[in-house]
């Protein structure tokens, strides 16, 4: 039985194809276990799964192989998702192909029973569902969320934008919204991998008549008889099946005949369909398209992929103390770094970004916005830097509500970045980001990046596991901390070096920060080598 097993942080594709069984299967039985909306009678937003991946993969294979003795099947594919999975999403997928349905149905049922006893995967915790509350005008305690709750709520509330078809040139960095399959076998026929002579693989003759010449573009089917050979170039389609190619270095040519000096064991050819068979999955939905995937789509003739639309993003900076970076600050003034930070953080996302500074006065700000954006509904994502706290000049929340946004939450129990506001207006998303640059950096990676992924049709950033490269001390805080760190690979492991930062206004750590490590609440210190969760923050492993 052919077996494919995957443990993944990514969402399970909507459509999954059976592994190839060369047309032998008459049944393809699929089972999906999805996250239910309640756990122990309480409504939940998501479940967090944890696995011992090395052992889980082996255990799944062992179960399938032992069950296949009793229920012979042709192929099985198992995908178990780990990390945070929102309600309604697939946690486990099992697909089994068999000649007739009975064996596959029985195998799937027994496999699921055994999986729940033996495979080291755990539901770690439920993320409780927090019902959206009507806006109340000022931040109250019921608009506070834990970090997990905030992420789960952003995932749940942000809806994918309707997809569009675009030419391949416009597709880099967009999220593929439908699976793309091979339209034909690749390669389309047996091809030579050498410059040489094609002949019947088992023809014992020593001299051959050269009956044709085939270049890489030629397609001239013919059946070769014993004693016949065809001159072929590298990449040329072979004229029939059952051939081998003898390298030109291994023959003596004499006019229209060749004499073979040496026969390699290798056949020197690529088989039809050895790369992929017609109908097999090439790229699943939900992937942000990379250069390699774009090349694959081109090779498959998919020139108008279905992807997310180009995002329209509006960014307002606030704060009367902010001056453009080319000016020299007077006492009390600071140069604007958040505009550059946001522009840089949005680099991986194909988008049109418009940035403006607005005055720190609600009435004046409203007037300016009305002038700048006579039709304010023309963006998908709105970011407002600064003014997110509850000081008398902090008007971001009323501003978002004036623009028609419902405030979903207005604080997150995380440091830095507590006064983060998240608003929804139909499919449009808004964030009020606390003004300090480090808070911006943190809020972008756990909140804005999650929303950007969801509206584009991706699963969103996931915490990964690494180890501390140096001890972390004096970290104790009643809130969880997303601590800036430098991530590097060493000795086959991901190692994180915590970077010093004095306050949310610190900017020097940006020189090296490419990850945010998650420090639990009330955790005074962590020793070097401790396993930690972290979010990649640009640079390594993508944004």
């Amino acid at each position: 039985m052919e077996i494919e097993i995957e443990l993944t942080h990514l969402p399970v594709a909507e459509k999954i194809f059976p592994p190839t069984t060369a047309g032998a299967h008459g049944a393809w039985v699929e089972f999906r276990g999805v996250v239910r909306g309640d756990e122990a009678g309480q409504p939940i937003a998501a479940l967090e799964y944890e696995a011992y991946p090395e052992m889980a993969g082996r255990e799944i294979r062992r179960l399938l192989e032992s069950l296949a003795i009793e229920h012979p099947c042709l192929a099985a594919r198992v995908i178990h998702r780990i990390g945070t999975i929102t309600v309604g999403e697939t946690a486990i997928y099992v697909g089994v192909a068999s000649q007739h349905r009975g064996e596959a149905l029985a195998l799937v049922t027994k496999f699921m029973n055994r999986l729940k006893q033996d495979v080291p995967v755990w539901k770690r915790r439920a993320v409780p569902f927090a019902a959206p509350r009507p806006a109340t005008g000022t931040a109250t305690t019921d608009s506070i969320r834990s970090l997990d709750e905030a992420i789960a709520e952003i995932r749940t509330r942000c809806q994918p934008l309707p997809p569009v078809r675009v030419p391949l040139e416009a597709a880099p960095g967009r999220v593929l919204r439908e699976p793309v399959c091979a339209p034909e076998d690749l390669p389309a026929h047996d091809r030579s991998t050498r410059d040489g002579y094609a002949l019947q693989a088992d023809d014992p003759a020593e001299t051959f008549q050269v009956v044709d010449i085939l270049h890489a573009v030629d397609w001239k089917p013919r059946t070769l008889k014993s004693g016949e050979a065809v001159r072929v170039a590298t990449g040329a389609g072979l004229p029939c099946g059952g051939l081998r190619v003898v390298m030109q270095e291994d023959v003596e040519r004499n006019g229209a005949t060749i004499k073979i000096i040496r026969r390699e064991a290798a056949l020197n050819l690529r088989r039809r369909g050895e790369d992929v068979r017609a109908g097999e999955l090439l790229v699943p939905a939900g992937r942000r398209l990379t250069a390699g995937q774009l090349a694959l789509l081109a090779a498959a003739g998919c020139t108008q992929p279905l992807v997310n639309p180009r995002l329209r993003i509006r960014h307002f900076t606030t704060g009367d103390e902010i001056i453009p970076p080319d000016q020299v600050p007077q006492p009390g003034q600071v140069r604007d770094s958040n505009s550059s930070l946001i522009r840089g953080l949005l680099q991986p996302y194909p988008c049109d970004l418009v940035q403006s500074h607005i005055p720190e006065n609600f009435a004046a700000a409203k007037q300016l916005i009305t002038t700048l954006d006579p039709q304010p509904a023309t963006f998908d994502l709105l970011l407002v830097s600064g003014g997110a706290s509850v000081g008398e000049k902090d008007f971001t929340r009323p501003l978002l509500e004036w623009l028609g946004f419902e405030t979903v939450f207005a604080q997150v129990e995380v440091r830095p970045g507590k006064p983060l506001i998240f608003g929804i207006n139909d499919r449009r998303v808004a964030f009020g980001l606390p003004g300090n640059p480090l808070s911006h950096f943190v809020c972008f990676h756990f909140a804005v990046a999650t929303a950007l992924a969801r509206i584009a049709g991706e699963s969103g950033p996931q915490f990964l596991r690494g180890r501390l490269a140096a001890p972390l001390t004096e970290a104790a805080n009643p809130r969880e901390t997303l601590w800036p760190a430098h991530l590097a690979a060493a000795d086959g492991e991901l190692r994180l070096r915590p970077l010093p930062w004095a306050s949310a206004g610190s900017v020097t750590c940006f020189a090296e920060a490419n990850a945010l490590l998650r420090v639990p609440a009330d955790c005074a210190s962590l020793g070097a080598g401790t396993g930690v969760d972290f979010l990649p923050a640009g640079g390594m492993l993508g944004a």
Binding site: Y49, H80, P120, V121, G531
Partner: protein, 79 residues
């Protein structure tokens, strides 16, 4: 020997892995005794926890050597 902890056992030990060093192989009983010295809270879970050695469940005869990766597997809840 690297010993891994998963799920609720991480909450008991406060970490996801430790290194243990010892000169000669241990049986399951001796390994539990070593672990309990460091994390007495683990003993409350012993009845439900299976030991895995190098990615396979162990049995009563399994010997755990210094070069092994050992995992404490609490009741699983996948799917």
């Amino acid at each position: 020997m690297r010993v891994l902890f998963f799920a609720q056992l991480k909450d008991v030990t406060g970490c996801d892995a430790i290194e243990l060093a010892f000169p000669s192989p241990l049986n399951g009983e001796q390994l539990w005794a070593r672990l309990a010295e460091q994390f007495p809270g683990l003993l409350a879970h012993r009845g439900n926890v299976r030991l895995a050695r190098n990615w396979e469940y162990s049995d009563a005869q399994t010997q755990f050597a210094d070069s092994d990766e050992v995992a404490l597997i609490p009741p699983v809840s996948g799917g």
